[in-house]
């Protein structure tokens, strides 16, 4: 079976600059965040920052909001910072929407005029997106470790390995959920820009819905629609988040959207 490796190798080679750039940025950001947190911890800056936490966050999140002004919370913030969360999602969307680019450019004609099953083309994109998300998670964890080694101190209260793993798993779940959504959109799209922009803007919008719902009661009834709703980072940090429930919701949504993507692409006119 040489089809899938051949397709994956071609796509990965083509996307190498986007992939390496994004992974470098995500890992580098963790090092910088740990460096910043260490500097604040060394100068006892966190104690002075408590009053800087916005009032709506304190009202919406209660005492958990104060975790943001601790060394542990700031280091962990690298895993749920809006730029990080949306960048990981957009990276996954980039890979799954490749099928729309192939339809637009006509490359799909040359591929599928051969005895290449349509599902293999979709599987290629799914595997690459999953691989990119997994690589991002590993490199972000490595970035944190590197930052702690470079700037940290054994006395600092860093997030435990278990908490880090749970945060990363939930972030990966959110990214895969958007990957599934992006696939469902791209599977019926004729233009890459349409598919990519739709999915990426949805990710940004969903982040805003979840974030603004903290302080704006009007948005709370629809906050459950946002995948970010199932990534309660501060609760995970505080140790009172459900163990698996949110992750199951995220992965089920990813699988549902993914299945829709397979189905649409198998039936569509190219």
């Amino acid at each position: 079976m040489t089809l899938l490796p051949a397709l994956m190798q071609r796509s990965a080679t083509q996307a190498r600059f986007v992939l390496l750039g994004s992974l470098g940025l995500l890992a580098g950001l963790q090092v910088v965040i740990v460096g910043q947190a260490s500097a604040l911890e060394e100068t006892h800056g966190f104690s002075r920052m408590t009053e800087l936490v916005p009032a709506f966050l304190q009202r919406g999140l209660g005492n958990k909001s104060l975790l943001l002004v601790t060394f542990k919370g700031t280091v962990a913030f690298g895993y749920f910072h809006p730029v990080v969360a949306t960048l990981v999602a957009v990276l996954a969307i980039y890979f799954v929407t490749e099928i729309a680019h192939e339809v637009e450019s006509g490359l799909v004609d040359v591929m599928l005029a051969r005895s290449v099953p349509r599902r293999v083309v979709v599987t290629r994109s799914v595997l690459l997106a999953t691989g990119a998300v997994a690589a991002a998670m590993l490199l972000m964890a490595a970035g944190t470790r590197l930052g702690l080694r470079l700037f940290g101190s054994p006395e600092f209260d860093a997030p435990s390995a278990g908490v880090t793993a749970r945060l990363l798993l939930h972030l990966a779940g959110v990214a895969l959920c958007f990957a599934g959504f992006g696939l469902a959109v791209a599977a019926g799209a004729r233009r890459w820009s349409t598919a990519f922009t739709t999915a990426a803007l949805t990710a940004v919008l969903m982040y805003l819905v979840d974030f603004l719902a903290i302080g704006w009661p009007l948005l709370r009834p629809i906050a459950w629609l946002s995948p970010f709703h199932y990534y309660p980072a501060l609760s995970i940090l505080a140790g009172d988040a459900p163990e698996w429930r949110n992750l199951i919701v995220l992965l089920s949504a990813a699988a549902g959207f993914g299945a829709l993507g397979y189905w649409r692409f198998s039936r569509r006119d190219l």
């Binding site: 004609d109 005029a113 005895s115």
Partner: protein
Amino acid sequence: MGDCAIQAEGLTKYFGDVIGVEELSFEVARGETYGFLGANGAGKTTTIRLLLDLLRPTRGRVTVQGLDCQRQSLEARRQIGYLPGDFPVYPDLTAAGYLDYLARLDGRSVSRSYLDELLARFDVSAIDLRRRLRDQSHGMKQKIGIVQALMGRAPVLVLDEPTAGLDPLMAQAFREMLDILRHRGDTTVFLSSHVLTEVEATCDRIGVIRGGRMVATGTIEDLKRNAARRVTIDFREPVDIGTLPALSGVELTHHTGRQWILSVRGPLGPVIQALAGHPVHDLSVQPFKLENYLASYYAED
């Protein structure tokens, strides 16, 4: 599997209210080179895309080597070597890298010696193979496209505008390649083209599609026989048009006292017999030109 390499039966594809093709039925025999002609938007590419299962028919079916292009899609596509009308490339790949990639997708083994033979025939040098496709000319990309369609020795070749962008020398090399395949007899070629001299020179039969429907099909000889010819008759002195008897397949398209211009379908014998006794000075029959024949169909689009 029968003698048909390609067989379409009532093939219909609608894009909403727009007709792609409608009730299209035709057969291409094994080993035959079939020219598929039509104006832009007539339905040529739609037919090809239905054949490759890139489009799904609204109704009807099409088979390749007896395999249903939708139900046995993979097996059917394994029989086909395809050159799209606008051959897409990965700009970052070299020509050699692209051929290697497509060979890996092919599922058929590609003989190195045959590939070298094709590259030599189409004048693709080792330097050309090492250059990235973004830096190649349109003609060179087209040559790579032809090579990739031929390299798997597929029993059925589907070629959409194969010589577009090729210089005359390479277009000639392509025609020679088709000749070789035709003489070998094991390859069926389904060729869509606007270059009528090429079609006339290479195709055993042609089909003409207009508005998504097949309007004519047959050998060039068949078409010649059935096509209306323009017959011009000059008389030494004015002749009353009333003396021309009603003849089947003959229409008067223009006349002056000393000249009649007739459109004649079928044999010329009855016209010549009818002219016996008339003071005919000259009679000329415009030779059959595929171009003129098709223009009558194209003009109606």
